[in-house]
Symmetry: C2
Subunit: 365 residues, 2 copies
């Protein structure tokens, strides 16, 4: 395949015309009757169109060269301008293997690599977040040292940045040390992922600081720092570092069903192209609004053959509780990273809660 | 003022409870009954709530320290997670002057500075884009040399990146040279703004290359490279360079009226915080979907007193034609940058079209 193939749902009036206009808007951005002949090589085309009731479906082929081997530019062409139009929604994506390779070759570890470096063969993997924002590094470290008795991944809440209460560097040093100490006592391989966003000119420096401190993974927010920042992080971090993507500031694309990008494509192939090893998304049944069907679709899109890339590991979160593990494994399968939040804090004893979570994950069928 | 004050429209059921949950979600992200006492310093609060019919309105105050002096983190707290929920929409924003200063102090030139460096006192300013994608640098340069007879700003189409047909560096060199030659002949001060997105690790390098080539301005896409990349660009570029922001990949926030960010706030205060001197948005009456009222609101939000920052210059575009100048000036006022696209190409003679556009702008009342 040498074309980028994108499928869109089209709503509203004159759907066929909207699809044709989309193909021009997202490639030439000049009516084709005004475009000089040599420029035709860059033009996208509607290659199939299927009428429906609620929406019609258009498949558009873009020349691979339009992306210029750059992830940011691929996104510009897939949905950049038409993201501003209600009634157009990106719902499927295929890209040539050559393009996926040019933008970095996908998740460095992927789902299988995450299991390998964490040393967990079969059970669902377990993660939680350090919060609330406002605690000091010593408090967060104390929390992490307890959580590391049961969790595989302890990540910063996305609300933790470089606030005066818990500056980035001090937090990273204290929490990595705390997790290391618990691991030495427990024989486990829990990991801490600092949230790295912050000023553009400090992004690489924070990544390197986290890796040097022994963080072995990071939490990134492509909605805030750009999808290409995730790809870049994969080029900076050590080989066995895990890249976890967080959906903060991405919801504009998914909160309505009539525009934007389907959550399946956004949290599946687009995140795999951006080189995320594991991808957080709001699970059905929590305080956010994805359906069970969408969540199952995200899991499928994270695993299906796509441009020769590794599978990413789905990390459903939001309103999750220990007693839902069975239900969640039924929905996502065992190859999942379950992100649990406030429920862990309810028992009062964080270490006991973390161990109970682990026990539940080890025994779930 | 020492708080960040954000106003949200709340739709759906249990609106008051949604507002309270939002304040916790976007600050602590842990139910307050589980949060240790010292963390209360980071908690946001609903400070007013007004019931309505279509929606209720909640004003939420966040402690300034939550942003940690970082633009990316401010966005995480304003709308990061709740962007994933339909029924919550950010519609007004105030931030303390100290925070606005900490994130760079707003547009380096702003609307007044743009007029100063372009040497245009009173009339509407004029811009267009080099397109279609697929042309070679020599073709684009030839196009620019004609357009520079009438336009103030000739920007790359956002679809131009580093494609094989027109690699970034060659394009920037050829087009800046062409515009410089026309300026020498015309006595005008037309400027060329290359589109800079591309790989994260090349972002600064491309900015510097553009400035060294004499580009005097850039086109940036915060939706693609992150809002903080725009702020960063302002720290790298020469003092009189103009930063133009493009709305590509931002439409998820604005395409529906029931979630995300109102276009007035997104293209107004948020872009000013990101240090954009001029902000492109889809004008009413074109092929995108903003209303006249929203467009007027964007213009107001780009000019109103906000955290001690310069005004940005609204740059409405999309489906614009020369014969609409009067109507557009009536809508936006004269302090506007009119972005015209394919209509300039309709006449066949680009220089004549550009001169006619200038003539129309000079005579509009």
């Amino acid at each position: 395949m040498s074309a980028i193939v994108a499928t869109y749902e089209i709503r509203g009036d004159d759907r066929r015309a909207r699809a044709e206009a989309l193909a021009v808007e997202q490639s030439h951005e000049l009516p084709t009757d005004l475009a000089p002949e040599p420029a035709l090589r860059s033009l996208a085309h509607v290659v199939s169109f299927e009428a429906g009731s609620e929406f019609d479906t258009a498949v558009v082929e873009y020349p691979e060269e339009l992306a210029g081997g750059e992830l940011a530019q691929l996104l510009v062409h897939l949905i950049g301008n038409v993201s501003l139009q209600d009634g157009i929604r990106l719902v499927e994506l295929e890209v040539p293997e050559s393009l996926a390779a040019a933008v970095g070759g996908g998740p460095p570890l992927g789902a299988a690599g995450i299991r390998r470096v964490l040393g967990v063969d079969d059970r669902p993997l377990l993660a939680t977040a350090l919060k609330p924002v406002g605690l000091e590094p010593a408090d967060l470290a104390a929390m992490a040292s307890k959580l590391a008795w049961g969790l595989d991944v302890i990540k910063d809440d996305q609300g933790l940045a470089n606030q005066p209460w818990a500056p980035f560097r001090e937090r990273v040093l204290r929490v990595t040390e705390a997790v290391r100490e618990t691991n030495a006592a427990s024989g486990r391989r829990a990991r801490y992922f600092p949230a790295v966003a912050g000023p553009f000119e400090q992004f690489e420096e924070r990544l390197r600081f986290a890796a040097d401190a022994g963080a072995d993974g990071v939490l990134l927010m492509p909605g805030v720092t750009g999808f290409d920042s995730v790809r870049f992080a994969a080029t900076v971090l050590p080989e066995d570092a895990i890249i976890m993507a967080h959906p903060s500031f991405l919801g504009g694309f998914t909160a309505s069903s009539t525009h934007g990008i389907s959550p399946e494509v956004l949290f599946g192939p687009i995140m795999r192209l951006a080189r995320a090893d594991t991808v957080i998304f709001p699970s059905a049944g929590g305080r956010f609004s994805l359906t069970v069907e969408q969540c199952r679709g995200i899991a499928e899109q994270s695993r299906r053959p796509f441009a020769g890339l590794e599978a990413s590991l789905p990390a459903p979160g939001g309103g999750m509780s220990v007693d839902r593990i069975g239900e969640l494994v039924e929905l996502y399968g065992r190859d999942v990273l379950l992100l649990i939040g406030s429920d862990l804090h309810r028992g009062g004893d964080l270490r006991a809660s973390a161990e109970a979570f682990l026990e539940a994950a080890q025994t779930v069928r």
